[in-house]
């Protein structure tokens, strides 16, 4: 069966804008009994006021500490009682609330999140633990050098403050106060720019009615975008007596809305889409330099990058760094037909399998809408992947080589980045 036939059979998208600017998205999925919700609020870490870095993370935690008629415990217990599997993430532009449950509980869960958006308690007495937890998360990063390497790399790579990790600094977290964060909530939690996506066993008209009832009266001004400064970029070594050297490097590429987007993604698959991709083959299979090496695509609205990471024993760090840069550069010298074929199959297969999970679908819809102003169906994605030729991939790689590379290394010794100047 072709992908387009699959998609016609399984995909039904819905879209509605409430009068206050909130965007509702829906996908009806057959053969599932769950319904997942992704709520995207334009209050991410990039919007933290100067001096209050980490505020979005505290606010995310604080927003769950009671809403409407319920205190912290009652709110949490209500979600648990509905079998709601929920999670919260702070990204650059957004705080994202995800919740998956049996479809019969979706409307009750939506009611709880409407309370969170419109009637949060944000009480003085619950503030301090929220700040303390973010402080502890920040300290925990010292025990997770691989994760820290990727966060710091992103922070340095993107124009400031777009790559903000969301953890802040000990000083900025200490500066946060309940009034300052209530004010931040008032400014950032507003319907314009908020996306509510639901996927699974849903009744779309009923979802719209429920959303209108719960959120139709929500008011607030559209959010201004943050003022950006040039990225820090450059080469950074963080000294640590770790067992591995953690090596991260990043360079610019095209965003999701760019015409070369699919070429960029396919080039990324050739580089690091699987075990037969170049980085894994050359560094691990042939030379056993690393257990883990990968490169991944990441995009904000106006900026995107290829982010590579390798962990290796310190004595192999230099060779690993040089080879990683070398493999990225080799892409421009040519890509075999079978590499392109594998990249296509892998990208499409991942999309179809992701399409089986209601949570993954809700996330993908919200992300598409944020980046593109619309939702892409499986058929469109598949056709675009098939239509991208090997020449277009090569042209893209040559137009967007690994230039202006940002490097971050955590480990006992720095690496010599001279190869970047050659």
């Amino acid at each position: 069966m072709k992908v387009s036939e699959r998609s016609e059979r399984s995909e039904r998208f819905f879209d509605k804008r409430l009068a206050n600017g909130l965007r509702l998205l829906g996908q009806r999925m057959e053969q599932v009994s769950s319904a997942a919700m992704t709520l995207v609020v334009p209050a991410g870490a990039a919007h933290d006021p100067a001096g209050l870095e980490g505020a979005a993370s505290i606010l995310c935690e604080w927003s769950l500490r009671g809403a409407g008629e319920r205190n912290t415990r009652q709110f949490n217990d209500a979600l648990d009682g509905l079998g709601c599997q929920h999670g919260e993430t702070v990204r650059s532009d957004h705080i994202i609330y995800s919740a998956a449950q049996l479809s019969r509980n979706l409307h009750a869960v939506l009611g709880l999140y409407a309370d969170l958006l419109l009637r949060p308690r944000l009480a003085d007495e619950t503030f301090e633990p929220c700040r303390a937890l973010v402080e502890q998360d920040l300290e925990s990063l010292q025990d997770e050098p691989a994760h820290k390497c990727n966060l710091m790399l992103r922070e340095r790579f993107y124009p400031r403050p777009l790559g903000a990790s969301g953890y802040g600094t000990p000083g900025s977290l200490a500066a946060a106060t309940p009034p300052a964060l209530r004010e931040l909530f008032r400014r950032r939690f507003c319907p314009a720019g908020t996306i509510l996506a639901v996927a699974g066993d849903i009744d779309w008209p009923a979802v719209c009615d429920r959303a209108e009832d719960l959120l139709g009266d929500w008011r607030g001004e559209p959010c201004p975008t943050p003022v950006v400064q040039p990225p820090l970029g450059g080469i950074e070594h963080v000294a640590k007596e770790s067992a591995q050297a953690h090596i991260g490097l990043a360079y610019p590429t095209v965003t999701i809305s760019h015409e070369q987007y699919y070429a960029a993604r396919l080039a990324g698959m050739v580089l690091s889409g699987g075990a037969a991709a170049r980085l894994h083959t050359e560094l691990r299979e042939k030379r056993a330099l690393v257990y883990h090496v990968s490169a991944s695509y990441h995009s904000l609205k106006g900026h995107a990058g290829v982010f590579a990471y390798a962990g290796t024993r310190p004595e192999l760090a230099q060779q690993t760094f040089d080879m990683t840069v070398g493999e990225i550069r080799h892409l421009a010298e040519g890509i075999e037909a079978d590499e392109v074929a594998r990249a296509r199959t892998q990208l499409k297969s991942a999309l179809i399998m992701q399409g089986e999970s209601t949570g993954a679908r809700a996330n993908a819809m919200a992300s598409d809408f944020y980046h593109l102003g619309r939702v892409r169906g499986l058929g469109e994605l598949s056709d675009a992947i098939d239509a991208t030729t090997a020449d277009e991939i090569i042209d893209h790689v040559r137009a967007w080589p690994a230039r202006d590379v940002t490097v971050l290394v955590i480990g006992p010794k720095p690496v010599d980045t001279g190869i970047l100047d050659q």
Binding site: R6, E30, Q31, V32, S33, S34, A36, T72, R73, N76, D77, D80, G81, L82, G83, C84, Q85, H86, A100, L102, P129, C130, L133, Q136, D137, E139, S140, Q142, D143, A146, A243, Q244, G273, G274, A275, A276, A277, R284, E285, A288, V290, Y291, H292, G311, T312, R313, L316, D338, A341, R342, Q346, L347, K348, S349, I352, M353, G355, E356, S357, T358
Partner: protein, 408 residues
């Protein structure tokens, strides 16, 4: 949804839960072998062998193995635990035959000397990677202290020394005994064609020899006590506790699962409210680890070192109180809803059902449809939950700590 199963003459079991409306299918081998089945002198061989399975056969080199998986767009991998080594792939249904061809072939690896020597370096790097993860180190410490000298105390990765000294001949001997046909289960889930699965496996695996793989199932002692490892390079104090729990084969495992959720789910549990909600700890969770013939409740705490004594005291108090009073009805119902909802979501994706169906068979030779599992879960009473806690006793703990503290 139905289960098909059969057994080849050589003892290889094949099972499949078919759901023809699924967009994908998952299949793979469960090998009943892991760190507990290793003699001390070959510590780490199960995991090393898992890596070597992907390094090729007489028909395929290692690069070809990778290329073929990638060409199908397979989501594939393998993992090794104390008791199982599992190889799997999820693909679109039209790739079932190709996936099986590859999986069956690689389960008879060449174990070439040059691949063995090279891959050893990858394992050593993987060991270094986990050394940089205090949360993993404390887990390994807990198993080691709690189960010692029982083989369940063995590290899955082994040590740089044990892996460094391992020879290809030792691995070959281990392979021929542990990867015998009668120690393997082939599992298919999702949009899978069972008849084709059996036909393919018969052709490719029917001649594999059987052996007396077995397993030493003597019960471990469940040691009590305390061990503190001081490491000033670890920023957050890590503490882990273990106490006895039902075995995988015990009927009260559902009650045990509920007890662990009630006490230590990452959100909304008693430990969560007592420790994380008030920011005394950044992690306070309990899991129920059901094993072959035994089991353990394991609790993981992460906190500021100067709070550790208080955090441990509160965690112990919560466990004792739970054991004394048991759960309230509303609390129990919420825990059931959480578990049922999680299982349902997982069950909607073939890859999610794969491990559940496989473990049900490997541990209990049973197939339980998801709906029946949920029904059994909801039938558990508060009385049964408190009884499982009392019977196994959270007070019988081994405590290990890793971080800045010298004493606790």
């Amino acid at each position: 949804m139905k289960l098909n199963h059969t057994r080849l003459d050589n003892g290889l079991t094949i099972i499949a839960e078919s759901r023809q409306t699924a967009a994908s299918m998952a299949a793979g081998f469960f090998v009943r072998t892991g760190a507990r089945d290793e003699a001390p002198e070959v510590a780490g061989v199960s995991h090393f062998l898992e890596h070597m399975i992907f390094k090729g056969t007489p028909r395929r080199g290692s690069l070809e193995v990778n290329r073929e998986f990638d060409s199908m767009g397979a989501n594939y991998n393998a993992f090794t635990s104390e008791e199982n080594t599992v190889f799997y792939g999820a693909v679109l249904p039209e790739y079932q035959d190709a996936l099986l061809d590859l999986l069956c072939d690689i389960l008879r690896p060449s174990l070439r000397k040059e691949d063995f020597d090279l891959e050893k370096n990858v394992i050593l790097d993987e060991i270094a990677r986990y050394e940089d993860m205090p949360r993993y180190r404390v887990y390994e410490m807990l198993l080691a202290e709690y189960f010692r000298p029982h083989p369940l105390s063995h590290s899955v990765l082994g040590t740089s020394r044990s892996v460094g000294a391992l020879t290809r001949e030792q691995m070959l001997a281990y392979f021929s005994r542990r990867y015998a046909a009668n120690n393997l289960t082939l599992v298919g889930v999702g949009n899978v064609d069972f008849d084709a699965l059996v036909a393919k496996a018969s052709r490719m695996c029917g001649h594999w020899p059987s052996d007396e793989a077995g397993r030493d199932t003597a019960a471990p002692a469940h040691r009590q006590g305390q061990r503190i490892v001081t490491d000033p390079n670890v920023a957050r104090q890590q503490v882990a506790l273990a106490s006895p729990a039902p075995a995988s084969q015990d009927d009260d495992r559902y009650a045990a699962m509920l007890a662990a959720t009630l006490l230590g789910d990452v959100t909304g549990s008693r430990l969560y409210y007592a420790l994380v909600d008030v920011a005394l700890a950044d992690e306070a969770s309990m899991v129920y680890d059901s094993l072959d013939g035994t089991g353990a409740f394991m609790t993981f705490l992460s906190c500021d070192s100067d709070q550790a004594a208080r955090v441990v005291e509160i965690a112990r108090r919560e466990m004792a109180q739970f054991q004394a009073d048991g759960p309230a009805e509303a609390e129990l119902l919420a825990a059931k809803n959480k578990i049922a909802s999680g299982a349902t979501l997982k069950g909607e994706v073939p890859m999610g059902r794969f491990t559940v169906v496989g473990y049900d068979w490997v541990y209990r030779k049973e197939y339980v449809p998801l709906a029946d599992q949920i029904e059994t879960l909801f039938a558990v009473t508060a009385r049964q939950v408190v009884e499982v806690a009392r019977k196994h006793d959270f007070g019988k703990t081994m405590l290990v700590a890793l971080g800045p503290l010298e004493k606790l």
